[in-house]
Each structure stands twice: as structure tokens, then as C-alpha cells.
């Protein structure tokens, strides 16, 4: 059996960031991902905000790694070609109490190393965000928004480009420490009805399992971590409203809860959320009617333009929170415990701001590993990854030129998001070999618009079947067992 130097469990934004940063060294690296794509759980189910780092306890890993991650984001987005906008963010308040709290948040932010924070009054607030409610605000110009799907995919693709192997549809079911201090990791395929099993052999294991961090931690022998979920429901609004939300609008936060916000995605869709309910169930992604009503009411208080006619979708994300015996939410835990699990990096409770901090987390993990081993630079490392060129974002001149070079750019498949056949085909032929409908959706934004794939999904299904030579019954929507069709008609 081939021996890996490092196996990373979990291909979300943190696992893929670790894979990408580790691929700077001469290592044989593999990533085990239980889903059929890399950002199906928490990494793809969040607000997509690049946080400043002011809302965490000074000195905590959350504060340090968030601030560092925020500062790195501009260069990273450029290197890896994913959408990121340092558009700023406002935290709006109404009462004296909230004003006092915002001052605390600002001081804390300054302690954490966050730059350019200020308290602004109503007039300045309205200049920045004309549609907002609120008497005053804390303004963080260094905060921003990013495309969480493409950030994760870009990290994974760049890691792959640099030699990392991705094993999708591999859920880890057992980890065994051998006598020679290597690890054997067993996985099953087909998540629901195990359709096979595999075994991997490695020197190092990294637990970047996100919501599965507790389960994997237990398998490593690092027991006793209490994990609960914070379940966040969101409503997505039509991107026609993007002009009304030039930057995320937040309420006054505590150090463990960000509050309801009205945000905007890099594609221009307005988001209302999250609800933040504690849950023991880390798998149920359902939205309740009462939460939808609550989001409507709360979001309306800070942004009075919520109209149910603009809803296009709802979604839920679950954040894994590490809590103590009293239920208090803890910092990120990133550890190597030599006497229990040598050559294993254990990451527990990587919740928000894990997306912002992901590459900083990866660098921190590598620093810890360096205390135990020498890492040799990989001279062939390529830091740059090129994404799919977006037709919708080109000028008419560029569009015309693109069509001249490749007529598939002249065939519009998704009308709402203006995604062409050329882009869909490039997504279908993605380097990780993902061939679900949602895989194409994340990579192109097709089916994400107001008609929700009403016009384009049939064409995309056909292209996937043709390119991969699969039958219609084999086509999965997103997860194992999410088939779209039961057969042919004729």
C-alpha cells in the first residue's frame, strides 16, 4: 500500500487550505472528503464575509488567525482567482447601550490588530449605505465579502495542481495507529449505503473534518471534546437589490454571536441571516417557518427593503462549536498531542471566522508540524490558479472576442446569471472530477439565479451525462443518493 506523508480528513475550506499550503513542501498529500465535492457543508453554507477580527477575545486564535487571514485575502484572491471585495462593513446601533458596546468592540478590535475602525454617526452611515436604518455604526473598511464556494474550490484545485490527491466520496470510518507510528485510515464509499471501502496509509493525519471534528478526534484517541452545532438559517434575495446593499450590514455583536445581518454576496444577491440556534444534530439542514418569519422581522429593523417577492432561496449552515462543560463556546483548538496521537494535527471547533482565517490556520498547522519534522520546499510549487472566465463580467468587446475564439461562449445556457456553454463545459471538466449538478452550480453560478435552474438545468444535466458517459439514473444532484431521474420515458 502506498504511504502518504500527510492525509487530511475533510476537503472543506480549512482542509483544502492546509492541502494547498502543505503542497509548498515536498510531501505526498491526500485529502479524504466524504461528500462528492469540497464545499458541501459549512464551507459552502455561510455568509461569505471576510471578517475584520474585532469580535473575538484578544489573544485568542480566532482573533489572531482572523486578522491575519483578512490581511492575506487580497493577495490570495488574486493568486487563486476567486471573487473577493474589500467593500467594508457596518455594525449599526440604536441605543446608548449599543453605542457603549460598539466602543468596546472597537477597542477590542484595535487590540486584535484590526486597522481603520471608527464609530460613525447617522449622516456618514447613510452616505456609506443609503438604505440602512440605525443611529450610528462601527465602520470596518477592511472587512469584505468573498465567494466561499470558489475560494474553497480554488484552494482545492491549486492543491491538486501541485500534486495533492483528492479522494471524494470517502467517509472516514476508522483510524488505527500502527506500531511503526504510521496511521491506517479506513473509509467507506456511498455514505448512505456503503458501496465499497478503502484503506489509506500515512505518516501524518490532520483532522480538518469541520462538523465531523469530534468524531475524528475520538478516532484519534483525543476524546472528550464537546461539540455542538450553531444552526444558521438564511434567506437569499434577488440580485437586482445588490445596489441597495453596498456592504454587509450587521447589528451589534457579542463575542460569540454576530447577530442578524443583511449581507450581499459577490454575485450581488442579498442575504438575510443567520438565526443561530444551538443544535445537537449536526446533519439536519431544514429551515423552519418561524425562523423565516423571524429573519424577515429582524432584518427589516436594520434594512427596511425586505420584500417577500424578492426571495429566491433559503439555506442553512451549521457551525461546529467547541464548548466547555458549562456550555461556553471556546476558541479554535489546533493541537498536536504527542503522548496520545503523535503525528496527528487535531483541529476542533473551527467555526466562524474559519473561512476568513483558513489559510492562516493552515500556516499555523504547518508551524506546529515543523516542530516535529523538517519540511523541504517544493521547488515546483505553482501558487497561481486560473478560474473560469465569467462571460457576465466581461465588457461587450471582451465578450465578442471570446465568442470569436470559442463559439461556445456565444451559447447562453443560464439566462439569469448569463452563463455560457463554454463556462459550463469548463466546470463539467473540473480538475477534481466533480460531476454533480451542484458542482457545476458552485463553479459557474448557473442555476443560482431567480429562476433557480428552471431554464438551464436540463441542458446542464445532459452535458454532465454526455461528458462523463453516465446514465440519467447515475446523475446526482448534490450528495450520494440525491439522484434526479428514475430512468427514461421512452
Amino acid at each position: 500500500m502506498e504511504l502518504f506523508d500527510v492525509l487530511i480528513i475533510g476537503g472543506g475550506v480549512v482542509g483544502s487550505a492546509i492541502a494547498r499550503q502543505l503542497s509548498r513542501y515536498r510531501l505526498k498529500i491526500g485529502v479524504l472528503e466524504k461528500n462528492l465535492d469540497v464545499c458541501y457543508e459549512t464551507s459552502g453554507r455561510n455568509t461569505g464575509v471576510c471578517h475584520g477580527g474585532f469580535a473575538y477575545d484578544p489573544g485568542s486564535l480566532k482573533a489572531r488567525l482572523c486578522v491575519k487571514g483578512n490581511q492575506m485575502m487580497g493577495d490570495l484572491a488574486e493568486e487563486l482567482d476567486f471573487s473577493f471585495k474589500r467593500c467594508g462593513k457596518v455594525l449599526v446601533g440604536f441605543t446608548d447601550e449599543e453605542r457603549a458596546r460598539l466602543h468596546e468592540v472597537m477597542e477590542q478590535g484595535e487590540k486584535n490588530g484590526v486597522k481603520h475602525l471608527s464609530i460613525i454617526e447617522k449622516e456618514r452611515l447613510r452616505e456609506l449605505v443609503p438604505t440602512v436604518e440605525g443611529e450610528f455604526a462601527m465602520y470596518s473598511p477592511d472587512s469584505g465579502i468573498l465567494d466561499p464556494f470558489m475560494m474553497t474550490i480554488a484552494l482545492a484545485e491549486n492543491a491538486h495542481q501541485n500534486g495533492v490527491s483528492y479522494f471524494l466520496d470517502n467517509e472516514v470510518v476508522g483510524i488505527h495507529r500502527e506500531e511503526d507510528d504510521t496511521w491506517t485510515v479506513s473509509t467507506k464509499h456511498g455514505e448512505l449505503n456503503a458501496s465499497g471501502a478503502s484503506t489509506y496509509h500515512t505518516r501524518w493525519v490532520i483532522n480538518a473534518a469541520g462538523l465531523g471534528c469530534g468524531v475524528i478526534s475520538d478516532m484519534l484517541g483525543l476524546t472528550g471534546n464537546r461539540i455542538i452545532g450553531s444552526k444558521d438559517d438564511y434567506i437569499i434575495l434577488d440580485n437586482r437589490l445588490s445596489k441597495l446593499v453596498p456592504m454587509p450590514i450587521y447589528t451589534v455583536p457579542s463575542n460569540t454571536y454576530m447577530g442578524i445581518h443583511v449581507s450581499v454576496t459577490t454575485d450581488g444577491n442579498v442575504l438575510l441571516g443567520p438565526t443561530a440556534e444551538d443544535t445537537e444534530d449536526l446533519h439536519w439542514y431544514g429551515v423552519a417557518q418561524k425562523n423565516l418569519d423571524y429573519l424577515y422581522e429582524e432584518a427589516t429593523k436594520i434594512w427596511p427593503h425586505v420584500n417577500r417577492g424578492d426571495y429566491i432561496r433559503t439555506y442553512t449552515g451549521i457551525l461546529p462549536k467547541w464548548i466547555d462543560e458549562n456550555g461556553k463556546i471556546q476558541d479554535f483548538k489546533i493541537e498536536i498531542v504527542d503522548d496520545v496521537a503523535p503525528h496527528a494535527v487535531n483541529l476542533v471547533g473551527i467555526e466562524s471566522p474559519g473561512l476568513t482565517a483558513s489559510v492562516a490556520i493552515a500556516d499555523y498547522v504547518i508551524e506546529l508540524m515543523k516542530e516535529h519534522m523538517d519540511l523541504l520546499e517544493n521547488p515546483g510549487f505553482v501558487p497561481v490558479r486560473t478560474g473560469i472566465k465569467k462571460f457576465a463580467e466581461m465588457s461587450e468587446e471582451e465578450q465578442a472576442e471570446c465568442i470569436r475564439r470559442n463559439p461556445d461562449y456565444g451559447e447562453l445556457i443560464c439566462r439569469c446569471q448569463k452563463v455560457t456553454k463554454a463556462e459550463i463545459l469548463e466546470a463539467v471538466r473540473n480538475p477534481l472530477g466533480v460531476h454533480t449538478m451542484v458542482g457545476v452550480k458552485y463553479r459557474t453560478r448557473s442555476m443560482m439565479g431567480r429562476c433557480q435552474g428552471g431554464y438551464c438545468q436540463m441542458r446542464i444535466a445532459e452535458l454532465l451525462e454526455k461528458e462523463y458517459g453516465i446514465r440519467e439514473t447515475e446523475l446526482e444532484y448534490n450528495r450520494q443518493g440525491s439522484q434526479l431521474f428514475f430512468g427514461t420515458v421512452r
Binding site: R313, P407, F485, V489
Partner: protein, 413 residues
């Protein structure tokens, strides 16, 4: 920009029934410098997937399938030699009628004297309704399921629940049954059906598919493929009644919960929309708030019969032909107002110079009513109806409007 801008008299956005009818009529009126731009690979629009019959009774006096109905117009377009391009998507229309078209052959640009908007409509989705629950696969709008079955030869369903009694939903209940699926029930949130009575008879009753009024889906279950839905009774304000929840096992939920005129291009062109129809505000010439931009068919207001779509587009074509030859059309400053029994009217304003056709829908079912059009207390037109249903569009021809006088009142007495 290396591509030249071509001048053209009339550019028609969309080669569905409205666009085809408008083109044929324009040609017959002598307007020949026209072009139909269709984004699909074939002309015909949504009719291509409507393989059931029932089309054409009003327009042609015979009942045809969707492709047959469209085929009549497509043949005429071909015989007359009316120019059209397919696989060509209009991506922008400016208020000055500069039109950008994306095709595999290149990016085309046209400066049109008149633009005819005939983009049709799209379906309201699960996300737009914000139905609570999980997001498994197996939740389809009726039109998507219809396209999969009739155009793409893929069977998306076995055990089916249908939400909404729109016409396409009922037609799909029958279609799915004929293809071997089991349609358990149709649930409708309103206390009355939203589709045509003939479809309830021919698509539900004939196949013993129950229709539950004042019911809706209140939760969707399944983290991969749909496993079931929770259905609840609703009160008169459409709020689910606690305690009435019932779990229905199914692998497919078909939504037939409304159609929305597809006006993205219109909005970008600066066209003012009506909040009720979600289509353009038009005058009796089907001219929108932007001079030279006209709209008809489902992009203007959702029709129940394609025959009326064609007839509306033909009327539009008469006015566009006059607009092309005369350069402008008469001012329309007489507004149409209506009472609470009327949901909307088309047009929303008229000139008073000529006879016009008024289309409207009532806002709730009524019996033994008279719909009256008045100006300054004068009755101009009326229609007595034994039954008036929101599902059925009502049309009246109105004459004798005085320009410069009071607004028109449309009311139910």
C-alpha cells in the same frame, strides 16, 4: 467595438407564440425589415414541450397540440421568408432600442425603430415561496418536469405530490400518471382551483387524482432525494392551521404555483411594470412606458389560453406597423381604474381615439355578475357572466372613450 450596428425596423425578442404571431402579422401589414430572435435552437417557445391538445380552438376552430399550434405559425414564417435567428440570446435592450444579441456566430447589435418584447414567463419556484424544510432533489416546477419528460426523455418521478392547481400542474398530473408515476394528490392553498375547469375534469377527475383546496405544503423532508412532505390545512388568510399537519410520503414534489412574466430585459430598458401583472404598463397600442418598445403575450400578463396570446400579439403588430409608418402613435392619457373585484386590466391607459380590447381578471370567484366599463358615469361596455373565475381571462371590446375626459372605471356590479 468591431461589430457593426445594424439598423432594423422591428426586432422581436422571443420566437414563442407571441413573437411568431406578431412577426406574421407585421409581415402581412407590409413591415418586412424585421427579425425574430430566439434563444433556443428552435422556434416555438414553451409550446414545444406542451404535447397535450387543447390549443387553437378559439384561434383556428380546431384543437391542436402545442407543437402543432406553433407549427402553423412556424410554417407561415418560413413560407413568407420572415427573417429569424435561433440559438441567439438577447442580453440587453436599451431605452433607445439598441439591442445586443449573443450567438455562437458572434455578438450582434441592432438599432431598432421598434422592439417587440415577447419573452413569455417563468415559473415561481420553491425558493420564491420559501417553503420550509430541507432541500433534497426531487422538487421540480411543473414546466421543468414537463421539459424533462417531453423533450429530454428523462423520468423524474415515481410517487408524486403536486402543490398548486395551476394548469401546467394539472396537465403534469395527467402526464405523469400516463407515464407510470403515481400522483397522490394536488394541494391548492386557495379555496378555489387556480387552473381552468376543463383541466380539473380532464386531468384530475378522469384519473381519480384528488384535489384538496385550502391546503399547502408546510415542510419538505429529505436530505438527498425527497422522502415526503408535510401538508397542512390553511385558514382564510392562508396561515397553516396547527394540528392539521399530515405527512405524505413521496419522492417528487411538483410545483404549479404561478407564472411570472419574464421582464428582466424590460426593466433594464427602463420599462415601467405593473405591480399586479408584473408585466409592463401598456396603452391600447401595447406600447410600454418607453416609446418604441412594445409588449404582448405572457411577458405582458399571464394568459390561460395561447389563442389569446396570438390574438393580442396580432393586435400589437397592427399598432407597431402604424408606428413604423407614422413614427409615433396617439397620446394615451385616459387611465383605467378598477375596484377590488378586479385583479388587473390590460391596457392600463388608452387614448380614447379608437376602439380597444380590454383584458382583465377578476380577483376572486363570483356568480351572476356584470362587469362594466364606465367613463364619467357613462357605461361604455359591459359583460354579464354566470360565473367569473380568476383562472379565466375576460375580454371586452370598448368603444366611445372620450379623450381628455375622466378616467375609465372598471367595476363589478
Amino acid at each position: 467595438m468591431s461589430e457593426e450596428i445594424k439598423n432594423i425596423d422591428v426586432l422581436i425578442v422571443g420566437g414563442g407564440p407571441a413573437g411568431l404571431s406578431a412577426a406574421v402579422e407585421l409581415w402581412k401589414k407590409g413591415v418586412r425589415d424585421i427579425l425574430i430572435v430566439e434563444r433556443e435552437k428552435h422556434l416555438g417557445g414553451i409550446l414545444r414541450q406542451c404535447i397535450h391538445d387543447g390549443f387553437g380552438l378559439t384561434r383556428f376552430g380546431v384543437t391542436l397540440s402545442g407543437p402543432e399550434y406553433a407549427g402553423r405559425f412556424i410554417s407561415e414564417v418560413r413560407e413568407l421568408g420572415i427573417p429569424y435567428i435561433v440559438n441567439a440570446a438577447v442580453t440587453n435592450v436599451t431605452g433607445d432600442r439598441l439591442v445586443t444579441v449573443v450567438t455562437p456566430g458572434g455578438l450582434l447589435r441592432y438599432q431598432a425603430k421598434a422592439v417587440v418584447l415577447t419573452m413569455g414567463c417563468r415559473e415561481r419556484t420553491r425558493g420564491a415561496l420559501a417553503i420550509p424544510g430541507e432541500r433534497p432533489s426531487g422538487v421540480f416546477t411543473a414546466g421543468v418536469a414537463q421539459a424533462y419528460i417531453n423533450l429530454y426523455n428523462k423520468m423524474p418521478a415515481k410517487e408524486v405530490v403536486i402543490l398548486g392547481s395551476g394548469d401546467i400542474g394539472m396537465i403534469m398530473a395527467r402526464r405523469l400518471t400516463l407515464e407510470g408515476a403515481h400522483v397522490k394528490a394536488v394541494y391548492e392553498v386557495q379555496p378555489y382551483p387556480s387552473g381552468l375547469p376543463r383541466n380539473i375534469e380532464q386531468c384530475l377527475n378522469d384519473y381519480n387524482i384528488p384535489l384538496y383546496l385550502s391546503h399547502t405544503v408546510t415542510e419538505i423532508h429529505g436530505d438527498r432525494r425527497l422522502k415526503g412532505v408535510t401538508v397542512s390545512k390553511v385558514d382564510e388568510k392562508f396561515r397553516p392551521i396547527p394540528g392539521t399537519e399530515e405527512y405524505v410520503e413521496c419522492d417528487t414534489l411538483i410545483l404549479s404555483v404561478g407564472l411570472l412574466p419574464e421582464n428582466e430585459l424590460s426593466i433594464d430598458a427602463g420599462v415601467v411594470l405593473d405591480k399586479r401583472t408584473r408585466g409592463a404598463v401598456v396603452d391600447e397600442h401595447y406600447q410600454t412606458s418607453v416609446p418604441g418598445i412594445f409588449a404582448a403575450g405572457n411577458v405582458l400578463h399571464v394568459h390561460d389560453l395561447v389563442d389569446f396570446v396570438s390574438m393580442e400579439a396580432e393586435q400589437l403588430a397592427d399598432h407597431v406597423a402604424r408606428f413604423i409608418s407614422e413614427g409615433s402613435l396617439s397620446e394615451c392619457d385616459v387611465k383605467l381604474n378598477y375596484d377590488g373585484n378586479i385583479n388587473h386590466t390590460i391596457p392600463q391607459k388608452v387614448s380614447g381615439d379608437e376602439k380597444f380590447r380590454l383584458s382583465l381578471r377578476v380577483s376572486h370567484p363570483m356568480k351572476d355578475v356584470k362587469i362594466v366599463v364606465m367613463q364619467d358615469g357613462r357605461e361604455l361596455a359591459s359583460r354579464k357572466m354566470k360565473k367569473a373565475l380568476p383562472a379565466e381571462m375576460v375580454q371586452l371590446d370598448v368603444e366611445g372613450v372620450k379623450s381628455g375626459a375622466g378616467d375609465l372605471q372598471v367595476c363589478v356590479v
